[in-house]
């Protein structure tokens, strides 16, 4: 029988006995010894383990834990003849404990479900036969079979088969991805509708999913200041309350000179006991780490890996977000965004493609995708300016503004982005504007961050006009351009001045020093990049900027929950302590006063646990 079930049955039996005894007591004239016997029996059924633990703990030289407090308080109640109260208090305490255990178990289960992304067994092809083994037994190069509905166990390359895979567990991206032979696949993704044969490219321990789990599970060892505060706090809190309780129990009767009056002692001893109840700091000690852990798990589920509770707390406090441009806010490709004049688009592109046909520059490649080159052309390079192509009688010039001027071609000037001018036989034909494409959700991400109260700054290595254009389109508060990596470090230090908490978002490739110096370093699009995972504090598996605002949102919510728990628990406990001290609770029956004290302990604890569980759930679209 499980621990919980046993406790439940014991509580029911004890409660039954207490109710029957109370009925008997008020209907038939019950002998006082029988009454004591029945209540004592109920008390023992409900609380024998508490008594036993208290005894063994004292034997180990440990007093002042909750078992000890319960034992003292209830035995005290028996001694002053309040048998029913003693039994009732013990039963209530056990109900509270049961609730607490249930709440913890529930939240453990939901966290386990969040992290159940690693398959326990897997089918491999060995010597032409399919066998089922544990994924850790697979070596590199073996063929793994993944059926529809299965989780992909290791990183690898698809050998044959095709299907749609759900990558949401790893990346948070909800759209399925179509993959076929030759594509790379990442462990933890789920095949939706087809069978795949995958060649393993790494072992189980090196797989993306193992690394992610490792990160999330060990995140709690990096404790947040709030957690450290609680640990320190509880160290002093309990002894202080115990000493106060002793003072409350002993001093008033002595000072007022009523020490010969037993009933006077009685009142103050009761108050001291209630004081002791409230002294358990469990509500805080459980709920604070639990809130952080829930937040980390919720973030992980959306492809945001937070490396420690401390980073979650810092992220919540961040008031400035600095971005790298290329690869973070923009796609890092060079796309044709404009062709002038529009009616001659095809001609302009075709001439440019002809001139640039031998070039490997990303600009040339993006032009080559748009038009077919005339392969017969004779190409000469004009260093630093562009290219000249000769086809039959025609001479085509393709390059920057300087090239046009040098050849006496007059042309309209334009300022946006990178511009390639094209001239033919001494006449201007048109120009092509090339720019790095802005990610579709970048604008939304910036707007969300503004809503969350963050200032946004873009730190770009690009030229001023390009950086300005991007900053303007995205409505970023501020930008710096033409920065070398070391300049970015200096700029970030400037941003950190005062009490600013700064997060830096980069693609993790050449931003390592900036990521390290920021209060929170966020690496983006980190799928498969070990270096980025190493240096950053927060790793975004997908490369969409809205993940940043989502991360900030989760961090804020988590910290709010943690603070709520700390403040509310302390207020309730303090109130009960004061009420006890001034004797307000005495006006209630002894038992009721005790109930209030117990509620201030376990009740608050259960409330705090339930509140912490909210950190695990994040609304779908934020």
């Amino acid at each position: 029988m499980s621990h919980t079930k046993k406790a439940f049955i014991r509580i029911c039996v004890a409660l039954g006995v207490v109710i029957i005894t109370l009925i008997l007591k008020y209907t038939v004239n019950l002998n006082i010894w029988i009454e004591l016997g029945l209540f004592a029996a109920a008390y023992l059924v409900a609380g024998y383990d508490v008594l036993w633990k208290a005894a063994t703990n004292i034997a180990h030289g440990k007093v002042f834990d909750e078992n000890f407090l319960m034992t003292i308080a209830t035995i005290g109640a028996f001694a002053i003849g309040e048998y029913a109260d003693a039994a009732a208090v013990m039963i209530l305490y056990q109900i509270g404990e049961l609730f607490q255990r249930y709440a913890v178990g529930k939240s453990r289960k939901s966290i386990a479900a969040l992290m159940d992304i690693r398959p326990e067994e897997v089918t491999v092809v060995r010597n032409g036969e399919k066998i089922t083994i544990h994924p850790s037994e697979i070596s590199v190069g073996e063929i793994v079979v993944v059926k529809a509905g299965d989780k992909i166990p290791l990183d690898g390359v698809v050998k044959s088969g095709e299907c749609n895979v759900d990558t949401s567990v790893i990346t948070g991206e909800s759209l399925p991805r179509h993959i076929t032979a030759g594509d790379n696949v990442i462990s933890g993704c789920i095949s939706l509708d087809g069978e795949l044969y995958i060649t393993a490219t790494g072992t189980y321990d090196d797989s993306t999913v193992s690394k992610i789990l490792d990160l999330v599970e060990n995140a709690s060892s990096q404790k947040a200041p709030a957690e450290n505060f609680i640990t320190k706090f509880s160290k002093y809190y309990t002894p202080i309350v115990v000493i106060l309780a002793l003072i409350v129990g002993i001093i008033p009767p002595l000072v007022t000179g009523n020490y010969t009056d037993w009933s006077y002692w009685n009142i103050w001893l009761k108050r001291a006991m209630m004081f002791l109840f409230v002294s358990c700091p469990c509500a805080l000690v459980i709920s604070v780490p639990m809130g952080f852990f829930g937040g980390i798990a919720a973030a992980g589920k959306r492809g945001i890996l937070v490396k420690g509770s401390n980073y979650l707390e810092l992220l919540a406090k961040v008031n400035t977000v600095a971005f790298d441009k290329t690869g973070t806010l923009t796609k890092g490709n060079f796309a044709i965004v404009d062709v002038f004049p529009p009616q001659n688009r095809q001609e302009v592109l075709q001439l440019a493609a002809t001139a640039e046909q031998h070039s490997n520059h990303p600009i040339a490649l993006s032009i080559a995708r748009e038009a077919n080159a005339d392969r017969s052309a004779e190409i000469t390079e004009i260093a630093g300016k562009g290219l000249q192509a000769k086809t039959g009688e025609d001479i085509i010039l393709c390059g920057n503004l300087q090239l046009m001027k040098d050849n006496g071609i007059s042309c309209p000037e334009t300022l946006d982005g990178t511009v390639v001018y094209i001239g033919k036989n001494g006449k201007f034909v048109g120009y092509i504007v090339i720019a790095d494409e802005i990610k579709p959700d970048a604008k939304e991400a910036i707007a969300e961050l503004h809503k969350l109260g963050c200032k946004t700054v873009m730190l770009s290595g690009d030229n001023d006009s390009t950086a300005k254009a991007v900053a303007k389109t995205l409505a970023i508060d501020d930008y710096r351009s033409e920065l070398l990596p070391q300049n970015k470090v200096t700029e970030l230090q400037v941003l950190k001045k005062g009490n600013n908490k700064v997060a830096f978002v980069g693609d993790g490739i050449n931003d390592a020093p900036v990521l390290a110096i920021a209060d929170v370093g966020i690496a983006m699009g980190a799928m498969g990049s070990d270096a980025a995972i190493e240096t950053a504090d927060v790793v975004l598996m997908r490369d969409n900027p809205t993940a940043i605002s989502t991360a900030k949102h989760i961090a804020k919510k988590t910290l709010n929950i943690v603070n709520e728990n700390i403040v509310v628990s302390l207020i309730i406990k303090l109130t009960v302590l004061l009420l006890t001290l001034f004797g307000v609770l005495d006006k209630l029956m002894f038992g009721l006063g005790m109930i209030v004290a117990i509620l201030a302990d376990v009740g608050v604890c259960v409330l705090a646990i339930l509140n912490s569980m909210r950190a695990m759930f994040v609304k779908k679209n934020i």
Partner: protein, 72 residues
Amino acid sequence: MKKTIAMQDLDCANCAAKMEEKISKIEGVRSCTINFMLQRMTLDLYDENIEETLQKIQSAVKKVEPDCKLKI
């Protein structure tokens, strides 16, 4: 040597914190962290006398929370 041990019936977070503190002080233990939510202990042990160290860890756990078991 790094070692992760699953724990059973770890009911109280305050106890987990106490265990962490006690175990970290045991000779032969470099560091110890307990994840209350996952009921898991992560140990970093010196390579000598591992058996003996584990014994000590087990009794430290028992002392703090008698119901709690280590699945070594």
